[in-house]
């Protein structure tokens, strides 16, 4: 079964019913099942049932995805991408498609508040292939992957971060359940918030009885704590309590899409006052 996802942001006018009807008609042309997922509100409905989609309560600025699954998903994705790019704000998730209207996942993109953060943050992603995982599984996954995360977080001085990360893991595992691990530290040595995401195509053990993990999401924060940082990260970690939210992170395979979901969640506490950042 082929699966495709289209990530987009709902524009200022929301989703008027004529757009819903157009979406229904387009989805009806294909054998693939098209599901509309609202990432912001964690709910979904079949694209061929406009009333159900209406009941999702999509608002301007919501991050959404079309999930397309079926033998002709590739074709359906091409057609629906054009539709989405015209009617909504398409989020660039793969380098392949050159769509002029698409916006990229950047925190400072003033045009939309979907990814807005009132502070500087670097976020990097990496995927680990199946062969590498076989090597990793032979030894301790943590020992292999923590250094990699630290390298991504701070290429200049990964050793320092690694030491702190290991210390933290010794107290208790940072596995969050639902296949996600969230190694995180805070220190005076850290100058700027940063995140690093590693996608694993196969689950590895993370020293916890809450099950193996397929996504490693590491974050580092400068100390002493600043309120916007804590608000953003506490909101994100609380979202991880929701199994549906974790599924969004584990089922998305495009690094940019994962980044979009994470940044969108981090930015939620600041949406109301996005014009006057509180610092």
């Amino acid at each position: 079964m082929i699966e495709r996802r289209i990530t987009f942001i709902i524009g200022d006018e929301g989703i008027p019913s004529w757009k819903l009807n157009q979406l229904k008609t387009l989805a009806g042309y294909f054998r693939a099942v098209v599901v509309m997922q609202n990432v912001t509100r964690l709910c979904q409905a079949n694209a061929e049932q406009p009333v159900r989609i209406m009941s999702l309560g999509c608002m301007p600025g919501d991050l959404c995805q079309l999930l397309i699954e079926g033998s002709d998903a590739e074709l359906a994705c091409m057609v629906l991408t054009d539709f989405v790019a015209e009617q909504f704000l398409l989020v660039k998730t793969s380098g392949k498609k050159k769509n002029r209207n698409a916006c990229s996942v950047v925190r400072s993109d003033k045009a939309n508040s979907a990814f807005y953060l009132p502070f500087e943050m670097v976020i990097s992603t990496q995927a680990v292939s199946a062969e590498q995982i076989n090597l990793i599984q032979a030894s301790d996954a943590k020992e292999m992957l923590l250094p990699r995360l630290c390298e991504m977080l701070n290429p200049d001085n990964p050793a320092l971060l690694l030491e702190m990360m290991q210390e933290r893991e010794q107290i208790s595992s940072t596995c969050m359940g639902n296949e996600i691990a969230l190694p995180h530290i805070m220190s005076v040595e850290i100058k700027q918030p940063a995140m690093a995401v590693i996608q694993l195509s196969q689950p590895v053990e993370w020293g916890s009885n809450r099950g193996p993990v397929t996504r490693l999401i590491a974050m580092v924060l400068p100390a002493p704590a600043r309120r916007p940082h804590i608000e953003a990260f506490a909101h994100f970690s609380q979202a991880l309590l929701e199994p549906d939210y974790c599924r969004l992170l584990t089922e998305n395979t495009e690094p940019e899409a994962i980044k979009a979901v994470i940044l969108h969640t981090l930015s939620r506490p600041f949406t109301v006052s996005c014009d006057t950042p509180k610092e």
């Binding site: 107290i171 208790s172 359940g177 805070m186 924060l221 704590a225 804590i230 970690s237 991880l240 309590l241």
Partner: protein, 100 residues
């Protein structure tokens, strides 16, 4: 039943708030009144007063580290759990408190 709880974790940016949210969510269907103090990176929030502690049947401490101001709870019935226990099955943690 009334429970007062304190959550804390080494970094204080994730687990502390997650555990607090889970406890509050799980308490409602069990008919438990719960107040949760978080000792996170922002310092102590929703601090428990002596009155709160005095009225509570059980003090629940969910933490992987030593908590601040523990002396407040001397004389109370204290139940200590790890953050992981709370995040895995908050309802059973609360049920254990009920059985104390």
């Amino acid at each position: 039943m009334r429970i007062v709880a304190v959550t804390a974790c080494p970094t204080g940016i994730a687990h502390t708030y997650m555990a607090a949210a889970e406890l509050k969510k799980a308490a409602q269907p069990l008919g438990i009144q719960i107040m949760v103090e978080t000792q996170g990176a922002m310092g102590i929030e929703n601090q428990l007063s002596f009155q709160d502690i005095g009225r509570a049947d059980v003090v629940l401490i969910a933490s992987d580290i030593e908590i601040e101001h523990r002396a407040r709870f001397s004389g109370s019935k204290i139940h200590c759990v790890t953050i992981e226990e709370v995040l895995t099955d908050p309802a059973s943690v609360l049920r254990r408190c009920q059985e104390l």
